[in-house]
Amino acid sequence: MASGNSFVNRILHRYPAYHVVRSVHPRFWRFYLLVTAVIALCFLQLAKIAVPSVQLMFLRQFHFKDRSFVRWAVQQMVPTMYSFGNELWWDRHPLTQTSLFYENADITRRYYLWLNHFPLHFATYNHYRDLFFVGPDAHYIVMRSRFREMEMISCYRMKNVRGELLLSRYEEGDLCDER
């Protein structure tokens, strides 16, 4: 029994958590603050799998639908790399529900791809920005992110206005999600 205990002790002594719990002291408050933040975010990540409101929160972040920039900025510190199934369509004409999901024609005029995270980075973080500056016409982007039972679709328009690419949302029937 004693040797059993000493075996368990030897194993336990290799765990940082064991030593941290054994030496709790108020003067380590900075450490506890950091640990609390990280553990809280771990639980938030786990909640993402099952809780629809948490899923919606992350989808809104991906689609820039948070009500305030500050809230979005706080969420930015939560790691979400390669999350959700993110699809994007790009065209020179406004895309509609029918043209996207019920027709296969005209595919050559349309550009379609999957992205790892934050699908709008197709417009803001790529080496082909100059393409969007060609010609006076607007470019249209529809992006769809899916996670389990949840889906979010957003529509964006890009237009070259005096040498700047103006990015804004547009409405297209019932295609674009308002959440």
């Binding site: 950091l34 990280v38 771990c42 390669y82 934050f118 080496h127 804004s168």
Partner: protein, 283 residues
């Protein structure tokens, strides 16, 4: 700080100096990994910053004006160079300043329209937080500091990969579709080129399911490292991250993973091993 936490009257000065030196070496190594990871993308970023961001600015009313400025993007990319002197003249103060600088830089980059998407910013922010905490406590001699550093490193790596693992618990990834579309639908990466040549297009579906599920499994494994003794967990996580680099993308992904590899190595150096005689605890 030291008077309160480490070099007390009962402790031999030599041992204390050795431990502080070791702490400084650890912080220096983690900071070095952070900087190498950040600047490994320099060739890519020089083209991106000067060829695109400054020439083709984007405006989007979701972002405040400050975070739309192309000049700020350029500044933020090069700002961590100011942390280099801390590696040359290490001290508690220089490490605190350098760590605060790299942490703030990553946060600002994560909020900027030109760079918000880059996962590098988030991993660098959290490792920056670890660096800042370790720098503030750099003169501590007690073994508790070493265990705390290891525990925090484990937790940060777990949180990062938990984000990826949880975000992939959806049909797009478990059925391999996202993986096939992003990595196997073209031959840009060496691995996808090799798979196309060896297996042909007809088997891409099955291969993407296997690869996608392996990646999810690897991320869950790394998310679970706090459940393992430090060195086992760190060893597994470092091995998986090194393996991920050539498989998922290019060496550029070192910008995301490098700082975490450095932090786990730092924890490895600090972690009191089973044969290390415990130093007297100074509370």
């Amino acid at each position: 700080m030291c008077a309160a936490n480490c070099c007390s009257a009962g402790m031999k000065k030599g041992i204390c100096a050795m431990s502080v030196e070791r702490n400084q070496r650890v912080v220096g190594i983690v900071l070095l990994f952070w900087l190498v990871g950040w600047f490994v993308r320099t060739k890519y970023f020089l083209t991106y910053l000067f060829g695109h961001i400054l020439r083709y600015p984007v405006r989007f009313d979701f972002f405040p004006d400050l975070f739309l400025s192309g000049e700020l993007s350029v500044l933020l990319y090069f700002l961590p160079l100011l942390a280099v002197p801390a590696l040359i003249r290490p001290s508690r103060t220089s490490y605190i300043v350098a760590s605060a600088l790299v942490t703030v830089t990553s946060a600002l980059s994560a909020w900027h329209i030109d760079t918000y998407n880059d996962a590098t910013n988030v991993t660098c922010f959290w490792v920056g937080g670890w660096l800042l905490w370790a720098s503030v406590n750099i003169n501590r001699e007690d073994e508790t500091f070493q265990w705390q550093a290891c525990f925090l490193a484990q937790l940060i790596v777990a949180m990062v990969f938990l984000g990826g693992a949880a975000g992939k618990m959806t049909a797009a990834y478990t059925d391999g579709e996202a993986w096939r579309q992003m990595f196997l639908s073209h031959e840009r990466f060496w691995l996808s080129g090799w798979i196309h040549r060896v297996f042909g297009d007809s088997r891409l579906g099955e291969i993407s399911v296997i690869m996608s599920r392996l990646m999810i499994g690897a991320e869950w494994t790394m998310a679970a490292i706090p459940l393992l003794p430090y060195r086992w967990g760190a060893g597994i996580a470092i091995t998986l991250m090194v393996f991920m680099m050539p498989v998922t993308n290019t060496i550029l992904i070192f910008s995301v993973l490098g700082c975490m590899i450095g932090m786990l190595i730092g924890g490895w150096m600090l972690c009191p091993g089973p044969r290390t005689p415990a130093l007297p605890e100074q509370v």
